[in-house]
């Protein structure tokens, strides 16, 4: 049983279907692993009873002869997805005692009522998904399995660390400004943020509603494709921004590719655009070297590299950090200590109760963003900041369309450096915001993007290659990443902590 955790989602599903292993056995195996690696800080909640009940339900479905690509395979959810079977905190003290009366759409589609995956618990993250190192979690930091003194990235840091350390074969994440791609890159796993609106936001604790998007995180593009096929699809009555486009089998083309002859040039005709702004002095040489190595591999597979320009790349930082906090300040006004969430122990009147409850419940970064958001939306500043940012947002999105007239996929680094030391950037928010430079512009445009393990940089830490597609082109991204992973083994490398 010792190697079960090294198997991919696809391999585990095959073992379950062949009855080599039961879903209950798998859940027990991974729960033991989670417990033994508790110091990583990846999990905020587990509940063996709930997980084993879900596993028994999956085993009954398998026993009746049902075959489905994810049935009985374990996963865990980022703690911003509300779940009936587990607490949901969004990494915040504000929601320390919160129990949701319902499951998020993504959770129910992947779980017992849908694909039949078994949830092993809830994964640590930056508070309300605001952060890039997971050190903004109100509960505990998460360690990077490649070097436990370093961050796993954020905000889906628990998801990335858990997958990298083989505590779960796959996890859900959310990406508002890079929160799937950046931790995937820093922790050496694969993750995809789909087109805005592809996965339902219903039951995702809201951060910035015009940017928030759910996506899968796993070790390979194929495993991500299997999960995304179950997660995505319209949810028209429950999410007003859900795209009215049918669910899609993202894995079929990838599985077909596996049986094709090796040595061919499967990416023949694919034009990969390299934005000059992504390859400048701002990116560390070790990261650039790994990214260039991956691009050379894609060229060998038949792709052509072309230079493109995204002139407003640097501006995407202020634009994002005006829009996202503005939306956050509005979304987080719901935490008033009345219907749910933290309430202060002592107060003089209603307003005092609001102020004390909110001040006690929110951590520093969340407070900072609420302050920024409230200011940019306040009387006299709305036009200069919020509207101005929304106008530049359109220009950024239009620049991508110009670039896509010259190429099919855009590629570059995900993060300008490898993972940094825990605590190193804690009190310098602006420095931390600047490091989001390569992920923010595609988030603002609502484009799909992924991170694919591309090698290692300084201190032996993983580096991810970012692939950005045009709207609705998730299949093309996953297919390109899969071809890359068929001839490279970066995604199969194993950190010391996963031994």
């Amino acid at each position: 049983m010792s190697t079960l955790h090294d198997l991919s989602v696809a391999e585990l599903a095959a073992k379950l279907a062949a009855k080599d292993v039961s879903s209950v056995e798998l859940a027990q195996h991974f729960l033991t692993r989670i417990q033994s690696q508790d110091t990583l800080g990846a999990f905020l909640a587990t509940d063996a009873e709930q997980s084993l009940a879900q596993a028994r339900a999956a085993d009954s479905r398998i026993a009746t002869g049902e075959r489905a690509p994810l049935l009985g395979v374990p996963l865990a959810h980022k703690d911003v997805f509300v779940t009936r079977d587990f607490p949901t905190t969004a990494g915040s003290k504000m929601l320390a005692n919160y129990r949701s009366p319902f499951d998020a759409t993504v959770v129910s589609r992947l779980g017992s009522g849908g694909a039949g995956m078994v949830s092993l618990g809830k994964l640590n993250c930056d508070e309300f998904a605001m952060g890039s190192g997971n050190d903004n979690s109100a509960y505990k930091p998460v360690q990077n399995p490649w070097d436990i003194s370093r961050v796993p990235g954020g905000s889906s840091g628990g998801s990335a660390a858990a997958v990298a350390a083989r505590l779960v074969p796959a996890a859900t994440g959310t990406d508002t400004g890079g929160s799937i791609r950046q931790p995937a890159s820093l922790s050496g796993i694969t993750g995809i943020k789909p087109t805005y609106g592809r996965c339902s936001r219903y039951g995702m604790v809201a951060f910035a509603s015009s940017l928030d998007q759910a996506g899968p995180m796993a070790r390979s593009a194929l495993d991500c494709a299997l999960l995304l096929s179950a997660m995505a699809g319209p949810d028209l009555d429950r999410d007003s921004t859900s795209l009215d486009m049918p669910a899609f089998d993202y894995a079929a083309e990838l599985i077909a590719a596996n049986s094709q002859a090796a040595g061919s040039q499967p990416l023949q005709g694919l034009r990969i655009g390299l934005p000059t702004q992504f390859f400048g002095a701002g990116c560390a040489p070790d990261v650039l070297a790994a990214v260039r190595g991956a691009l050379a591999e894609l060229e060998k597979l038949g792709a052509t590299l072309v230079e493109v320009s995204l002139p407003l790349t640097e501006l995407s930082i202020p634009v994002y950090y005006v829009i996202a906090p503005a939306e956050a300040s509005s979304n987080l006004s719901r935490y008033d200590g009345v219907r749910y969430g933290h309430r202060a122990a002592e107060y003089t009147d209603l307003e005092d109760m609001y102020k004390k409850s909110r001040t006690e419940g929110f951590g520093d970064e969340v407070t900072r963003r609420i302050m920024i958001g409230t200011y940019v939306l306040s009387h006299g500043y709305y036009d200069a900041y919020y509207l101005k940012a929304q106008k530049i947002r359109r220009l950024i999105a239009e620049d991508f369309q110009k670039a896509f007239s010259q190429c099919d996929i855009i590629a570059g680094p995900v993060s300008p450096t490898v993972a940094w030391k825990i605590g190193e950037r804690s009190d310098d928010p602006v420095a931390s915001y600047l490091a989001d430079i390569y992920t923010l512009s595609s988030s603002l445009a609502g484009l799909p993007g992924m991170s694919v393990p591309a090698g290692f940089g300084a201190h032996g830490m993983p580096v991810g290659l970012q692939l950005i597609g045009n709207y609705f082109k998730e299949a093309q991204l996953l297919s390109t990443a899969h071809r890359f992973q068929m001839t490279t083994d970066w995604h199969q490398r194993k950190p010391g902590a996963a031994a």
Binding site: Y196, L243, E314, I317, S333, R339, Y340, L350, L395, P429
Partner: protein, 99 residues
């Protein structure tokens, strides 16, 4: 244009947050650092550009969907109030607002 301590106090009140005096100074420094970054936006000419609120609107008009105005959720009052700080007889309790 730099923010002042008065701005911080005003914004904190609008956001219903109670910053301690020492936090106000710290927050002031951090927000001013942040708004120096935001000033870069002034250099971009956005005359005649429509604000973009929904990313997919780049591809064309996005119509906001309406659903039928019928109840789709079952009554879950008890489950919904499990996480409430103070309830009584199915009602949320708050401090007295009107004497």
């Amino acid at each position: 244009m730099a923010l002042t301590s008065q701005d911080i106090a005003r914004v904190a009140h609008l956001a219903r947050l109670a910053l301690r005096p020492d936090e106000t100074e710290h927050t002031l420094g951090q927000l001013n650092g942040f708004f120096r970054l935001v000033e870069q936006m002034d250099a971009v000419n956005t005359d005649g550009v429509e604000p973009l609120a929904h990313p997919a609107a780049v591809l064309g008009q996005v119509a906001l969907r309406l659903r039928e105005d019928i109840a789709s959720e079952p009554n879950q009052r008890e489950a919904s109030q499990v996480s409430a700080p103070a309830v009584e007889n199915g009602l949320f309790l708050v401090p007295k607002v009107i004497e």
